[in-house]
């Protein structure tokens, strides 16, 4: 496919030593059109990273799906616990890291697994270890970013959370709703209908509609695909529309390879037929993979950095400043001047200055907006 050849060419150009382009013969050619390539050369050399969290009850096919998505076998030596052993199990957080390389591009993939979620009899607040984990990663990044040595900050923030909804019910259960509401402002949630091979196409459609309705009803903010650019071609826009109408994706995963229609495919062998994982008429696996890896991976990271992390950071700073004002303490991990409790006059002065600052800030913003508009 052309897209793949284009990728190959792009990667080649990025990785070979800096060569003059043939277009230097053009008169007006300055040469900074190579800037995007320069920008990414370093990233390609350094490699990318991506942290994916999977959450849902045991037996939803999470591990199988991850193996199918990334063509790896992450859970080779896993020991499944029996019922008795699981009685006292609490929700754990387990990280698996794998380095994948494809066409010269390196990806450090981290899968955050959450065994034990939703498995107990009393699942009250079983999402707390998960929200705590996500917050911990934000906090660690915040401290690193505010520190002095920022050269090699490790980014362990969770970029995306795949949430597996069981196909057996009639929509979202209370634990699903509560989990998603606890996490929708901390991480990009992508809800999936697991083990979709036990439903007929009609049943899948009904379930999807029902789930979409309930997501709206409960005000859950799942990950939204960004709008298409107006200058994209019609085919792309059509694909994008189909993608958006297909959520939540109904997926099937498989660790085994079977023979179907004369080819070897990933699938599940039943007496009544063969379910092919990568067959778009059987399930939405391909759509999920394309969205997750091939078109929206970068956007998922961006939304995590620009929205979820910034929210956390702003909240954190607010809490810190109000605490400092109350306690008059000097210690703080980030550089802030401790606010002493002012008397009435100074308070008035501070208020005046603050309003002045705000006015100046607004003026600056307006000017920037004007400049920005002029340039467009």
């Amino acid at each position: 496919m052309d897209a793949i050849m284009l990728q190959e060419k792009l990667v080649e150009r990025l990785l070979c030593p800096r060569v003059r382009t043939a277009r230097q013969k053009e008169k007006q050619y300055v040469g900074f059109a190579t800037l995007p390539n320069q920008v990414h050369r370093k990233s390609v050399k350094k490699g990318f990273d991506f942290t994916l969290m999977v959450a849902g009850e045991s037996g939803m096919g999470k591990s199988t799906l991850v193996n199918s998505l990334f063509l790896t076998d992450l859970y080779k030596d896993r020991k499944l616990l029996n019922a008795e052993e699981r009685i006292n199990q609490t929700v754990e957080i387990i990280k698996h890291t794998v380095d994948i390389e494809e066409k010269g591009v390196k990806l450090k993939l981290t899968i955050v697994d959450t065994p034990g979620f939703g498995d107990a009899v009393n699942n009250n607040e079983c999402w707390k270890p998960i929200t705590d984990y996500i917050d911990q990663q934000f906090e660690q990044y915040f401290r690193d970013e505010s520190g002095l040595n920022r050269k090699n900050i490790q980014d362990n923030r969770v970029h995306c959370c795949l949430y597996f909804i069981p196909p057996f019910g009639h929509g979202l259960r209370p634990v699903d709703v509560e989990f998603m509401k606890a996490l929708h402002e901390k991480v990009n949630i992508i809800p999936l209908i697991a083990k979709a091979d036990c439903l007929t196409p009609n049943e899948i459609k009904k379930l999807k509609d029902r789930i979409r309705e309930e997501i709206d009803k409960f005000g859950i903010k799942v990950y939204q695909f960004p709008e298409c650019d107006s200058d994209e071609d019609e085919e792309f826009k059509q694909l994008d529309k189909e993608l958006k109408e297909c959520t939540p994706f109904a997926v099937i995963g498989s660790n085994t390879v079977v023979e179907a229609r004369g080819q070897r495919v990933r699938g599940r062998l039943y007496p009544w037929g063969i379910v092919e994982v990568e067959n778009q008429s059987h399930c939405d696996f391909v759509k999920l993979r394309n969205m997750l890896i091939r078109s929206h991976m970068h956007d998922l990271k961006d939304v995590t950095c620009d929205v979820h992390y910034e929210n956390y950071r702003a909240q954190c700073i607010q809490e810190m400043t109000s605490k400092l004002a109350q306690d008059n303490r000097m210690e703080s991990p980030i550089p802030i001047l401790p606010l002493s409790t002012p008397d009435v006059d100074t308070e008035k002065l501070i208020k005046m200055k603050d309003e002045e600052l705000k006015r100046m800030q607004e003026m600056l913003n307006k000017m920037q907006q004007q400049m920005h508009d002029k340039e467009q």
Binding site: Q7, G31, S43, L69, T72, E102, L148, V265, N311, D354
Partner: protein
Amino acid sequence: MHDQNCCAANSSHNSSGGSTLLGYIGIDTIIEQMRKKTMKTGFDFNIMVVGHSGLGKSTLVNTLFKSHVSRKSAGWARDEKIPKTVEIKAVSHVIEEGGVKMKLTVVDTPGFGDQINNDNCWEPISKYINEQYEKFLKEEVNITRKKRIPDTRVHCCIYFISPTGHFLRQLDTEFMKRLSHSVNIIPVIAKADTMTLEERQEFKQRVRKELEVSGIEFYPQKEFDEDMEDKSDNDKIREAMPFAVVGSDKEYQVNGKRVLGRKTAWGIVEVENPNHCEFAQLRDFLIRSHLQDLKEVTHNIHYETYRAKRLNENGGLHPISSSDTQESNL
């Protein structure tokens, strides 16, 4: 919390036919995703030119970017007076090429080195550079930060050396010594058409030796080479620096082609001809291969040095919060 580091370097099956069957995951498409995103957001680049008047600074910048982007193009006044102190004049333009939009800001420093007594004439320049760092720092420390902080930091400072043919002037070494640790300095030998090729070589060697002896690290700095490939590329460039350049915005007909050049009674000096001067080398180095690196070194090293210094000072930093006495906008 457990960590399990599994099998490394998995996959990389080599099915190149794009089959979705067993081999191809598609993680290399992330490059294209990033590319689309950065093309949308655009780039900016801030370049400063320093040197005393008449060395062809504005002409050179116009030649580099093939458009009238420098101060002189905004109202050419031949009999401009020499300012009494060093002024800082920044002019911005948006130029576009191949779908890539770049906001180019040229910071000119008229008055540098033009007075009788040039003591401390580098101070306004140093102050300007630090002010840009301070602006960026304040934005970064803000509670509600902008998605893309406007970057006015000077990414590159081209220093024009007079083609005396003898040695560096004292002003040259003083300036470069003081500023090479806060900004990327690229020294160039201006108006190279006043020297023959042999004279140029000798002058270059003398200048390089002097720079070395004075401990001036110009860009690309040796200590920031990341790997062997970078080092060998940059070594070649360092050997050829400072580039001897000629600038021009007039075109002439030479051998059936229109070229930028300077016409004299004894011939036409072609700006982009590598046999005549090193302009083409400078342009390739500056724009086609190291443009992004200049920005990165500014951000990761010079800016970080400034930031660390500020954080260690007594006052610390105040986050500009609009929420001390007002509602928070969370």
